[in-house]
Symmetry: C2
Subunit: 144 residues, 2 copies
DNA sequence: GTAGTAATTAGAATTATTCTAATTACTGAT
DNA sequence: ATCAGTAATTAGAATAATTCTAATTACTAC
């Protein structure tokens, strides 16, 4: 339990800083994502969160996730048509989707590469975001 | 109607070259994608194809699209959790998703940029494919 | 021409997500 | 503190895209 994710006051501050009312549900959903550095689906978040808040509903989990994504505290990622996954890593990064294990790895994106990627856009195209997804196989030693 | 997409024999050859039986349904589905250089959904392909083959079923359209994608004659693209779209452009390219209009534009990817992108992968990561999706707004003049 | 396999089909089933309408919990003004 | 108004939560129904199922039809090779 890092001070970052386990502390009630810190989570509240993060939410308030985004102009979001710090409800217990939002806190516990945010905490469940920040504390594990993986890429859970809404269902997985629901399962985790029920451990500490058994009364929470799936609809609320969806609502909280949507709120957290739109205020920028978590990111969402999609692989093909699979269920949306949620990502605590806010630094610019790509995703590597291991088809063998189903696991998702964050791949750091240096500023220079990001700049090179954006340079492919012809004039008239204004991008708010870029999503880069690799698909392939990672050796077991390549852990994240 | 280009010779590429409108010719029965050419379509057959493309399918046979992939070890896929050239059925009338597969031909007409492939043709409907090749002839328009856009990014239709399965439903849109279904609608187009019914014009020339009213008896075709949606399940068959899905089956044909799956076959065509897995033999590499068309590509599939996804934007968030939206319906899968199909793309006739087989050259390496990124996609620009215009949030205002919903339109999708192909963005050519020079080999040098592709190489730079792949260079971010640490050892142990073997990527079969990379998907690059920009989200933003394109000026009306930026036509594809 | 027939047996065996592959493709197509209609409709049911599934999955992830969103919507609806009701309840509960806050907030700010008094 | 009290109350009105708004925001958040909830359970369950509804939706959308896709996949599955089981039956039929069409090929292919002998």
């Amino acid at each position: 339990m890092s001070a970052q994710s386990d502390n009630h006051a810190v989570l509240c501050e993060q939410l308030k800083a985004c102009d979001v009312r710090p409800t217990p549900q939002r806190e516990v959903v945010l905490k469940s994502i920040l504390e594990k550095r993986d890429h859970p689906t809404a269902d997985e978040v629901f399962a985790r969160v029920k451990a500490t808040m058994p009364s929470i509903s799936l609809a609320t989990v969806y609502n909280c996730l949507e709120t957290l994504v739109s205020c920028g505290l978590v990111r969402s990622v999609n692989f093909e048509r699979g269920p949306t996954r949620y990502c605590p890593n806010l630094h610019p990064h790509a995703h590597f989707h291991d088809v063998a294990s189903g696991a998702t790895h964050d791949i750091d994106l240096p500023e220079s590469v990001l700049a090179k990627i954006k340079s492919v856009l012809p004039p008239g195209y204004a991008a708010d975001s870029v999503e880069i997804v690799f698909r392939g196989k990672a050796t077991p030693s390549a852990r994240n």
